[in-house]
């Protein structure tokens, strides 16, 4: 449970203050691993194909964390997410050393969720047991598809068979496993998408993320788009995904996230609930509240720059104008939305700041307030971009 203390905020000029409540805003830790064996043509994350420098990077992460400690002093950590890149390129020993170092410096809640992202290759699967022993309690596998032709089109280096075996091994060691899947893949048909999904469901994993493949700017796919299904077919696929997963007992709790009961990803829920997070590692972002307001931080993106100086960070305050939009970009992704009170608690702004936009959203049938929760209507979930733009100061 996330503790909430509802104290009326004191509106101030300039940047909003969340003095009275910031200690009650949950805090997560994100650790970024910036290397991949091969960069996929659709990926716009901060990943690099250079040779990983495992030991040096571990030292840098610790130095980074120590420099950041004054910003989060005394606040418990509710979850850790080790993402990338391909964090499963790390040896079990490195992950063990990393988590030991984190535990020594941070008040980690005993039940904290600790997720590691893994590639479903043969080499990585051999390390899953060691990750479990190090303290990782949730594994997220980047499956994308079980069809070899689709995996090749996506530039993935694993095969469908490898993926199946990796899931088996993962489930041997972890109760909580997530599979990342993508649909609307190059030249994909509806039956093909159905087969991928059925294969995933048959494994019985507790969590599935099903993403519509998106052409992100600054990726090879964006420059030279592959032949993708048209909008209507892609929407048919999404309908199919949602119906099939509902039948199989998965709750659709966020735009692209599906979970068996009580198996939602706590770390991501904290992002979407506009909670705080400290990000360490190359290119990692933080969002932190304190008595002066809310700040966003970013580490140097390139591993070379980060390793040269892991402690100096770019930061900037989130302005009053930006806060409603940023809050809604996260909160309204959740099927159930968020308690209305969280808006003031986590932005420091009065509800009047969003009154006009919220009314417009309701007018258009995109937004509703039910049981004191602010949540998107089914139509609002489909047209989330439109709903969010109502809250943007542009």
């Amino acid at each position: 449970m996330i503790p909430i203390v509802a104290v009326p905020p004191v509106p101030q000029k300039g940047f909003p203050s969340v003095t009275s409540t910031f200690l009650s805003v949950p805090l997560s830790l994100y650790v970024h691993w910036p290397w991949c064996v091969r960069k996929c043509p659709y990926c716009d994350f901060n990943s690099h194909e250079s040779v990983p420098q495992e030991a040096t990077y571990l030292d840098a992460l610790i130095a980074d964390l120590e420099a950041a400690l004054p910003l989060i002093w005394g606040r418990p950590i509710i979850s850790i997410f080790i993402g990338g890149g391909t964090p499963s390129l790390m040896s079990g020993a490195t992950v063990d050393a990393l988590l030991a170092a984190l535990r020594m410096r941070l008040p980690l809640l005993p039940e904290a969720e600790i997720t590691l992202e893994a590639n479903p290759g043969t080499v990585e699967a051999a390390r899953f047991a060691a990750y479990r022993d190090a303290g990782v309690n949730r594994l997220s596998l980047g499956i994308q598809s079980f069809a070899d032709a689709k995996l090749a089109a996506l530039g993935r280096i694993h095969s469908g068979d490898e993926a199946q075996r990796a899931i088996e091994i993962a489930q041997k060691h972890f109760e909580r496993v997530n599979l990342d899947l993508m649909y609307a893949l190059p030249e994909q048909t509806l039956p093909e998408a159905q087969r991928d999904l059925a294969t995933a469901i048959a494994t019985g994993v507790s969590h599935l993320s099903a993403y519509h493949l998106t052409l992100e700017p600054n990726t090879p796919f964006h420059h030279a788009p592959p032949p993708l299904p048209d909008d209507d077919l892609a929407a048919d696929m999404q309908d199919m995904v949602e119906e099939t997963l509902a039948t199989a007992g998965y709750q659709h709790y966020e735009t692209s996230a599906f979970a068996k009961p009580r198996q939602q990803c706590q770390h991501n829920l904290n992002y979407w609930g506009f909670g705080d997070y400290l990000g360490i590692g190359a290119g990692a972002h933080s969002k932190l509240s304190d008595h002066t307001g809310i700040r966003r931080e970013a580490r140097p993106r390139h591993p070379k720059d980060y390793l040269a100086d892991p402690v100096t960070r770019q930061w900037q305050p989130v302005t009053t104008e930006d806060l409603p939009g940023e809050f809604m970009m996260n909160a309204l992704r959740l099927t159930d939305g968020v308690p209305l009170a969280w808006f003031s608690e986590r932005t420091g702004l009065p509800l009047s700041a969003i009154e006009k936009s919220a009314l417009a959203g309701r007018q258009e049938g995109l937004l509703e307030v039910v049981d004191n929760r602010l949540r998107p209507t089914p139509q609002g979930r489909r047209f989330l971009n439109r709903l969010i733009t109502l809250f943007l100061d542009a």
């Binding site: 993403y211 998106t214 992002y271 489909r382 047209f383 971009n385 733009t389």
Partner: protein
């Protein structure tokens, strides 16, 4: 020969006027008028190289220094000819487009001669021909010049032959030149002196000065460029504009070199400017005659016409709260464009806006572009329409400038539409396609004449058809080789109907059109189908219908968008994703909300885009 007996002042004038040459340049767009004008100005020392550049790049600064707006190609120049004498050459600018043929005729009537500039690599174009005919009709001496001789594909003999065949003037002495390299510029100046007559006129007659052009200057008010035909004028004279009878005090006279240079006096034969504290450009109409209050001319110079708007369109702000800002912009624009007319109008679909009158489609495009670029206006422009005359059953005649206001057919006896005579020049290869196009636009052939490889087609056509998309189609069927000139002929009874567009069953008044009954169903189908392409998918289905009265003639459907959502958003993504959404929001701002449907700006002009493959 006996010299006439003259007073000393007149004698001096008589001698000096022999050294004046007033001329303009007739050329098709891109055939090098500006470059040649610049070369001539440069050769005559009107501007140094540095100023030449400054004139182009930094005219605002010059304006500030001199206090008067400079028109680059109107210049009083001094040229020392090969005979050793110094001549005063007045180069008079002419506007370059078919919409401005009246202004062209006024500029030409202020001259004794004109250089006909023909691109030696491309030959004669319709517009050049039309202007050249105007010049010949006005008794202006035409001196052909073959430009772009530096190009390898230049064909001077072909171009000469074409000038002779098409225009019917002797081109044996056509002067080869290259405005780009400067070749032949001096030969041109010598020809101006040798072949163009000196001005005639009477210094001692009452003042008659022709307004060639007028514009608004922020510092001094309206500046009038005039050609003094008879008499003379100096500062402190009381002047009268003969079309309106309004009286003003002449504050300053002078010439452009092209820098403005005050002079004590302007005299018969000369070209120069008058500043007289006029605040409104409409008061100084091009073609009007200026005379003196104390000793007025008995009749004005011939040829003055009140120019009427030929094409009307609605201009609306995309955001209704920008109405005042649009009105201010139009007000400012009108200061410098007397041919722009506007009045407030209300549309059910678009709210408050203006019905604007233009000289033609190009003029409309210029105004639209200036409003957007110079005044930063986000505009919805409705489809252009011509002015219809409606004879009502009660015998009255109503002018209709807005399709939505076409009277009910029960009350109308007859609807009349404007007919124009168009002259089209087209190479033989494209003749068939152009004839088919003209016929499809309800044109009736008046004449067809072969001039070498060129054909001159004359068609009477309903102006409404030309206004819609004729220029673009003409260009496309002739691969850009056909050129066109037109003039108003008459109003003729026509079987036209109002075509309405309904969005989600609501009639959108701003999308109504007046079309010929025979074309109406086809037009409706084309229009609806084009609108379907232009209206983006929205959260709900959008039904587009075209209707004549209560009969639906076309139906299209924009299927609802299925989803609009970002697949991923986690902690680090936020700023990038936000930029994406902000862009989306900015895009929506440029659309007009009509009922629950968002219609992009270009959809209101969809009718101009139909059939353009």
């Amino acid at each position: 020969m006996k010299a006439p007996i003259l007073a000393p002042l007149s004698l001096f004038w008589y001698l000096s006027v022999q050294h004046i040459r007033n001329f303009s340049i007739i050329a098709h767009i891109d055939h090098g008028k500006s470059t040649l004008a610049d070369r001539i100005i440069q050769r005559c020392g009107g501007l140094s190289d540095r100023e030449m550049e400054a004139q182009v790049l930094d005219s605002m600064d010059i304006e500030r220094e001199r206090g008067i707006t400079i028109k680059a190609q109107t210049a009083a120049l001094q040229y020392k000819a090969r005979d050793g004498k110094i001549y005063n050459l007045n180069l008079i600018d002419t506007p370059g487009h078919v919409d401005f043929s009246y202004e062209v005729s006024r500029s030409l009537s202020a001259c004794e001669g004109a250089l006909l500039v023909v691109d030696a690599s491309q030959g004669v174009e319709a517009q050049t021909v039309a202007n050249c005919y105007t010049a010949i009709e006005l008794g202006v001496e035409v001196v052909p010049v073959l430009n772009k001789m530096d190009l390898p594909q230049a064909d001077p003999d072909g171009a000469r032959q074409e000038v002779e065949e098409v225009i019917g003037i002797d081109a044996t002495d056509a002067i080869p030149c290259s405005a780009k390299t400067g070749m032949g510029v001096e030969d041109i100046l010598e020809a101006v002196i040798a072949r163009i007559p000196a001005p005639r006129g009477k210094l001692d007659a009452p003042l008659k000065a022709l307004i060639i052009d007028s514009w608004f200057d922020n510092y001094v008010g309206v500046v009038m460029l005039v050609r003094v035909v008879d008499g003379s004028l100096k500062a402190k004279d009381k002047i009268k504009l003969m079309s309106t009878g309004t009286v003003h005090l002449c504050e300053q006279v002078g010439v452009f070199t092209p820098k403005s240079l005050p002079r004590p006096e302007l005299r018969a034969g000369e070209v120069g400017f008058i500043i007289s504290g006029i605040k409104e450009l409409q008061a100084a109409k091009v073609g009007d005659t200026v005379t003196l209050v104390d000793r007025p001319a008995t009749e004005a110079l011939p040829g003055f016409k009140e120019i009427k708007s030929q094409v009307f369109a609605g201009l609306y702000p995309v955001e209704s709260n920008q109405y005042d800002s649009l009105r201010d912009a139009l007000e400012k624009l009108q200061l410098n464009d007397a041919s722009l007319h506007y009045e407030p109008e209300v549309s059910q679909a678009l709210g408050f806006g203006f019905r604007c009158g233009f000289l033609g489609l190009l003029h409309m495009e210029i105004v639209q572009e200036r409003l957007e670029r110079e005044f930063d206006q986000d505009l919805i422009t409705t489809a252009p329409t011509v002015v219809y005359e409606v004879l009502m059953r009660d015998g009255s005649v109503v002018q209709v400038e807005n399709p939505a206001k076409l009277p009910d057919s029960q009350k109308a006896e007859e609807i009349r539409e404007p007919i124009i005579t168009t002259k089209i020049f087209v190479p033989q290869d494209y003749l068939g396609a152009v004839i088919m196009l003209c016929e499809s636009k309800r044109g009736s052939q008046v004449n067809m004449a072969y001039h070498g490889r060129q054909v001159q087609l004359t068609y009477d056509m309903p102006m409404a058809e030309v206004v819609m998309d004729f220029f673009d189609k003409l260009k496309s069927v002739s691969r850009g080789y056909a050129s066109l000139d037109y003039e108003f002929k008459e109003y003729r009874a026509a079987d036209v109907v109002k075509l309405d567009v309904l969005i989600n069953t609501e009639k959108v008044d701003a999308l109504s059109l007046i079309v010929h009954r025979a074309n109406a169903p086809y037009r409706g189908r084309e229009l609806a189908s084009k609108m379907r392409e232009l209206i983006p998918r929205q959260m709900y289905d959008v039904a587009i219908q075209a209707a004549i009265g209560s009969t639906i003639v076309a139906r299209e459907n924009v299927k609802a968008m299925r989803k609009d959502v970002l697949a991923k958003c986690y902690g680090g993504d936020i700023s990038r994703k936000k930029k994406l959404l902000e862009k989306q929001k900015a895009g929506k701002k440029r659309m007009k909300q009509v009922g629950s449907v968002e219609i992009p700006q270009e959809a209101f002009l969809a009718v101009l885009r139909v059939g353009g493959k």
